[in-house]
Subunit: 287 residues, 2 copies
């Protein structure tokens, strides 16, 4: 099998706007979506992934602006948590998820990411929480299909299992996909979250191209100082990026490669244009 | 299968002295090994696990002191890293590991724990590093057998994969055990590191009683503030302690349950005697 050659064509490159610090906690340069779109178009990015907080009521307008610039909206981050301390009211959770599906549909986003939330109050371990996730994903999947939005369950690094994602492996994500059985439901593979897992190749084969809805890039810094906001640029860490891409492409994935770097003390402090330039260079040579 | 009943007999309880802050970075009350031994004996602990820094050249003396108090030395923490940035000189690594085996033998410690170290310089991902671990463990295992010391490979939470332990799952630990094939080599199961892993029951069955050399207790705090020094006391977090113990005992383990709580801002600031009292109470009622 031949991997895609990004050195000659980097149109698979997608920007996740988190890499520019968007407006999270005041980080980043505060570029408008329009400015981000133009900067990505100028550098040959193929697509962009936004966060809900950047979109507000302008979903349709921003989606059209992206496509007018020759790009696509690869995704939207993300549903509110489906389980955990912030998600105790089932109906409110379902309603919130449906509202984010509506926003994704308005944007024309190919995929809506799901970060499921942590261990549910009153329970121990992840088993019960994953059952709740399965129930709630099963409830929203038909609505997503109606709106032509695909839902990507994203397992997070196990360090987040307590309060952000009781879903921590591709294996468990695919178990939920199997249980729900909806074509609109698949998984996102994020290097930051799975790089340590020696079982991912088997699971990516299990998923196949029809269930891998996204591939997220960054790097794991060996001496990371903060598990939330100290992600590395590709090449600066210890993840085996080529091997992981070989696995995901070997499983049939041929979609966008989305760079998502939360980096409060490094990349978010730099000029966004310069960050995008480095991203393109690293993507063409190291990913 | 019936689990052991700790409410009527807590002699399986072992103190890992890290829970009292030993002398790490100036934390803890600075109790001598002798004072720790007496405090554990007074409360019915069955055994103690020390760290090398506490032992120095007094291994034989301290071991005898423990046994004179009616306890045993359940283990010694730990070999120096076998791989990673601090372990580039193979012979120095082997020599250092053998010296820690000698210390364990002098103490009469049942088990010497191995935390393997992070991703090796010049490599990416964990595969190459795990091969180096396998080579080096294979080199020291016969020496450990000669000295009557069992070696326990301890997989750490994946958050440490970069710089502390490229070994992050029981599955990978048992793969190394299989590759080395030495009866002196097994695994340690630590709640903090494996609580999120839905594959552990299968792996504990695979390990069996002849390869599970230790079971470590603490809790994972849902909103942990520091992945190194903010472990929870049993019952304060979200790990399913009963379910994990059912798995480890279901696999045939009947050895010590070692409480190991790194907690710079909470338990290490309390009176060690009071900490031991809480530990006994939680162990008898919640573990």
């Amino acid at each position: 099998m031949t991997m895609r050659d990004f050195s000659t064509d980097h149109s698979a490159l997608a920007l996740n706007t988190a890499s520019l610090g968007h407006n999270l906690d005041g980080h980043g340069a505060g570029w408008s979506p329009e400015r981000v779109i133009d900067a990505c178009a100028a550098r040959g990015f193929g697509s962009i992934v936004f966060w809900r907080r950047e979109i507000g009521s302008r979903a349709v307008e921003i989606g059209e602006r992206v496509r007018a610039a020759g790009l696509s909206v690869a995704g939207l981050c993300r549903t509110p948590f489906l389980v955990g301390a912030e998600a105790t009211d089932r109906q409110a959770v379902i309603d919130g998820a449906k509202a984010s599906i509506d926003m994704a549909a308005g944007l024309g986003a190919a995929v809506l990411t799901i970060v499921v939330g942590g261990v549910h109050p009153g329970t121990k371990g992840t088993a019960e929480s994953l059952k709740i996730v399965t129930d709630r994903v099963g409830e929203i999947a038909p609505y997503a299909a109606q709106r032509n939005v695909r839902l990507a369950l994203e397992p997070l690094n196990p360090v987040y299992a307590g309060n952000r994602s009781c879903l921590v492996t591709l294996r468990d994500a695919l178990d939920i996909c199997d249980a729900v059985g909806a074509p609109s439901l698949g998984v996102a593979v994020d290097v930051y979250h799975v790089w340590w897992d020696r079982g991912i190749d088997v699971q990516m084969q299990r998923a196949g191209p029809e269930r891998i809805f996204g591939y997220h890039l960054c790097d794991w810094l060996a001496d990371t100082t903060d598990v939330l906001l100290d992600r590395g640029m590709m090449g600066d860490g210890v993840a085996d990026l080529k091997a992981i891409r070989a696995g995901v492409e070997g499983a049939g994935y041929a979609g966008p490669c989305e760079v998502e770097i939360f980096s409060a003390n490094n990349w978010w402090k730099r000029d966004p244009g310069a960050v995008l330039d480095v991203m393109v260079e690293r993507f063409r040579t190291l990913c």
